[in-house]
């Protein structure tokens, strides 16, 4: 790919983020910054019980509070057939509870008042009578015959959501029977929460005169949400405008539709004034899309030399009270079947059972492409267990089993076609950077002295960019994405996409793609997303799909524009199109130095001097259906030291080598990697949302659910290899999620490695000092 000048700032230039100017000055425009004349405020009354019959709701006292305008209950919504709404996974979810509540903090009533404080005070006055029911918090008990039935609304009288399986069971079982070695691990990927800096919320504004509903929404997928509003609310889709303004982080948490959004819309439709609803931090942690809660068993069959023969995975997926995850229709367990990872398994079989429990609904993909984090964690964990069983170096075991670079595109036993990869190269760079051999020596010496040090490897493979229309849809809408580029007469441009940045830097990276393809300087390209009245339709930003889909669409639309620009250039230069050659920013006549037209001159001509037979203007739109997913990969190495007295784990070094194909902006990629590694660090060591036996949330505040600060965060050492995607228009793969997907296993492997000589095979996340200290105490090592 031809590198553009710094002035143009196309692909590969580490240009500063265009959006940061307003963010660092506090001039961002988030949903809570939207203030409209006459706007009123909503507040949710929530259930204190995890499972209880709803006997009565008394709103009299609350209604008497001055300033209270309306109180909406489930019974009210039922009259409009809105008490339930569809989820993005073909389940349905209560908007406001009717009959019973199914999780603590479930939405029970929506209070609307003239100001936020009155709404909150009035919510306190709503009296709800409950009758407690037996609570189910353990997914393992969900399928028991005597388990309490949670979802009485379903025809199936059990707590099972789905059973999904893939692979050749018979051949896999046979391989296990014949195997010399079988290694097994039970690993929990604990329930955690994306906890974006900005919580969820909306402003709903129904204009009775125009019958138009405008909703400012914290949405990662504004177009899909508009369609859901149209289908559920019966409002004509052209009369709904969803605007996702600046979004303060999403990480999957802003993909589902939440009851608060629907209630705010209903309140605005009813009252005819704008209604704002913004979650508190605790509401966000307790009721909106959580992640993980995968209870996984993995077995690997291998020969005595460590060559893997088969993998068998059985997983229990706890989706909470409603299956409110956003999964592609054909994949109820997402892309979990990437669990054979970077290794050449001849056979594999994977099954997942989804179950209901009395917990908040969800199962969203937290900074991962539909359950890829769970899969990558599982395979990288079980490979270490196998290495330990074989007394083999985990690096050697991985290298022995990597899919060789020459075998791409590679067909996995669970049905994926990996586009490209060079796993040995990424591994080698990581080992050289960290100084692996010297670390092994140091570890051996430290063990002699009784000191605890561990090295953890994770050579993950991701699967992102959902996805090809033949296999991928959400509620039937195919997972293409789009771009529309319009070049103005002065050679500047605006482009709009179906995706929506939540901090990823789209305003910069998409502009760089246009710069690369058309030679219009990135600073002259305005990128706009998130307004359904102006942007072309798309499925939004999650699953690292923006670059693989809308990024590709941007390049394809730019290429259409370049084709038209060529015709205009030929006309202006009085040459034939075949005699023209392109370099970013201008067309020149071959062999005639100085005879050229810049893209700016061409753009001006498109409005002022139009060639006969051509339409005026210079714009194009593309809806890109990716032919395949992309498969980023990398090797991460963590080095930890453990304090025997306290169990404290110090991450001494962390080397991250990523391969995300061709890079648009290396600075943004590095920023994404830093952020993702920090989240992975938090998941490995700090974060879990637990429930007690009564279904009380135990991680519902930042006092209990910990977020790492600069103080705890280790120093990250990053590196890259470049293996372009062969099917993507400019060879990119997507990177936002790799560090979150790949790093938890590296951290856990490092801690287990530090303790493996004591017989420790596995420790579940989050690995807190308390857990480690208890292990050390058990082994008599705390001193």
């Amino acid at each position: 790919m031809q590198k553009t000048s710094a002035e143009i700032g196309g692909m590969g230039h580490p240009i500063k983020r265009k959006e940061d100017g307003r963010f660092i000055q506090g001039k961002g425009n988030y949903v809570d910054d939207v203030n409209l004349p006459g706007m009123v405020y909503g507040h949710m009354v929530r259930s204190p019980y995890a499972h209880a019959r709803l006997k009565s709701i008394n709103t009299e006292a609350a209604k008497k509070l001055p300033g209270v305008l309306a109180i909406i209950t489930g019974e009210d919504l039922a009259k409009a057939n809105l008490a339930w709404m569809p989820t993005l996974s073909y389940d349905k979810q209560m908007v406001l509870a009717t009959g019973k509540v199914l999780f603590q903090a479930q939405e029970v009533a929506f209070v609307v008042a003239e100001d936020r404080y009155t709404a909150a005070d009035a919510a306190e006055l709503v009296e709800v009578e409950y009758e407690e029911l037996p609570v189910l918090v353990d997914p393992h008990k969900a399928m028991d015959a005597d388990a309490p039935l949670l979802r009485e609304d379903r025809t199936e009288k059990n707590n099972k959501i789905f059973h999904w399986e893939v692979g050749d069971k018979a051949a896999t079982d046979k391989a296990f029977k014949e195997a010399a070695v079988v290694s097994k691990v039970y690993a929990l990927s604990p329930r955690c929460h994306p906890a974006p800096l900005e919580t969820c919320g909306c402003v709903a504004d129904f204009n009775k005169a125009t019958e138009k509903l405008t909703v400012w929404l914290t949405s990662q997928a504004p177009h899909a949400h508009r369609t859901v509003f149209a289908l559920v609310g019966g409002i004509p889709e052209q009369n709904i405008r969803v605007i996702s303004p600046d979004i303060g982080g999403g990480f999957g948490n802003k993909v589902p539709v939440y009851p608060g959004y629907v209630c705010a819309v209903v309140a605005s439709l009813t009252l005819g004034v704008p209604v704002k609803w913004i979650e508190t931090r605790s509401e966000n942690l307790q009721s909106t899309g959580f992640a993980r809660d995968y209870h996984m068993t993995a077995e690997v069959a291998a020969d005595k030399d460590g060559k893997v023969k088969a993998m068998r995975v059985k997983t229990l997926a706890d989706h909470g009270a409603f299956n409110a995850a956003a999964q592609p229709t054909k994949f109820p367990a997402g892309l979990f079947s990437i669990c054979t990872g970077s290794y050449e398994f001849p056979q594999a079989f994977c099954e997942v059972d989804g179950v209901y429990t009395n917990k908040a609904p969800g199962g969203i993909a937290y900074r991962c492409s539909f359950r890829v984090t769970e899969a990558a964690y599982l395979i990288e964990r079980v490979m270490d267990v196998l290495a330990d069983d074989l007394k083999m170096d985990p690096v050697e075991l991985r290298q022995k089993n990597f899919i060789p670079a020459a075998k791409f595109p590679y067909q996995s036993p669970l049905g994926w076609t990996y586009d490209s990869g060079d796993y040995h190269a990424a591994m080698k760079l990581a080992l050289d950077t960290v100084g692996y051999d010297a670390l092994l020596k140091e570890q051996a010496e430290k063990r002699k002295k009784g000191e605890l040090m561990g090295i953890g490897i994770s050579s993950f493979t991701e699967i992102v960019g959902a996805g090809p229309a033949h296999s991928f849809d959400i509620l039937g809408i195919k997972m293409f994405d789009s771009a529309e580029i319009r070049v103005h007469p002065t050679g500047k441009a605006i482009c709009r996409m179906g995706t929506k940045s939540q901090g990823q830097g789209h305003e910069t990276t998409y502009a760089q793609i246009v710069a690369q393809e058309l030679g219009i300087p990135a600073k002259d390209v305005q990128v706009e997303e998130g307004d359904t009245d102006t942007a072309p339709y798309g499925l939004g930003t999650y699953a690292s799909r923006s670059t693989p889909t809308s990024g590709a669409a941007t390049a394809m639309a730019a290429r259409k524009i370049r084709e038209k620009a060529k015709k205009i250039a030929a006309f202006l230069l009085e040459a034939s199109e075949e005699d023209l050659e392109w370099e970013p920013g201008k067309f020149s006549v071959k062999g005639a130095p100085g005879k050229s037209k810049t893209i700016q001159e061409i753009a001006f001509a498109a409005y002022t001097n139009i060639p006969p037979g051509l339409e005026a203007g210079l714009e194009a739109v593309n809806y890109y259906d990716p032919p395949n997913l992309t498969f980023p990969f990398g090797t991460y190495i963590a080095v930890v030291d453990i304090d025997k007295g306290t169990g404290e784990i110090k991450v001494r070094r962390f080397v991250a080598v990523d391969d995300c194909g061709n890079i648009i902006n290396p600075m943004i990629v590095e920023g994404q990697i830093h952020g993702g590694l920090t989240e992975g660090f938090a998941i490995a060591f700090m974060q879990e949302i637990t429930y007690d036996e009564s279904g009380n949330v135990q991680g519902g505040t930042f006092m209990d659910y910990l977020v790492p600060t600069a103080v705890e965060t280790p120093h990250w050492e990053t590196g890259k290899t470049t293996t372009p995607s062969p099917h993507h228009p400019f060879g990119a793969k997507g990177v936002g999620e790799s560090p979150n997907v790949g790093s938890p296993a590296a951290f856990v492997n490092a801690v287990v490695d530090a303790l493996s000589h004591l017989g420790v095979k596995h420790i579940d996340m989050p690995i807190t000092p308390w857990k480690v200290w208890n292990i050390l105490k058990e082994k008599g090592l705390t001193g």
């Binding site: 204190p48 306190e124 009578e129 279904g695 135990q698 006092m703």
Partner: protein
Amino acid sequence: MAVKIEKTFQVNEPVEKVWVFLSDPRKVGTCVPGAQITEQVDERTYKGAIKVKVGPSVTDYKGEVQIVRLDEQAHEIEILGKGQDVKGKGSASMKMTGKLRAVDGGTEVVSVSELNVIGILAQMGSRVINEVSNIMFEQFTKNFRQQLQNAETGGSETAAAPKPISAVGVAFSALKAAVTGHSGRAEAKPGPEGAKDSGTS
């Protein structure tokens, strides 16, 4: 969420006198911060209420207290309390056993409480619940001694109308206690007769 709290403290009164007090829920009830015994249902069952304030929200538990076991000989009492918040903010139950033992110069009171809280209070986490319990217990101990003394000096047994105990205040004290190792409240300072924590779980 279930929390087990074990507490031991001493009072400078003879066992028999303390027992008369301890075995009467109406008397003990006045010592619990924010609590009130409103009605006697039968010999062993009472109706009562306790208010706990969390920020702007007052959790107002109403329910029953029942004496499950009363052993005059061993000076042991087992009490079961259950309540629901009147506005549906959650529920709480507590099983408490109290045992008296004569010691040099007075009586040792040993109590083991198993508290189960559902709802807003429970979300505050076991650390806070434990510390809230500690502080409530310290106040209880202080009241208990005061009431015993009042009984001796012929002072009034009727307590003033119960004020809701503020869990936000308590939570901050609890936080401070957790980070500094003492709650910073005058009555919480461990004195020679101060409540001593014999371990929580």
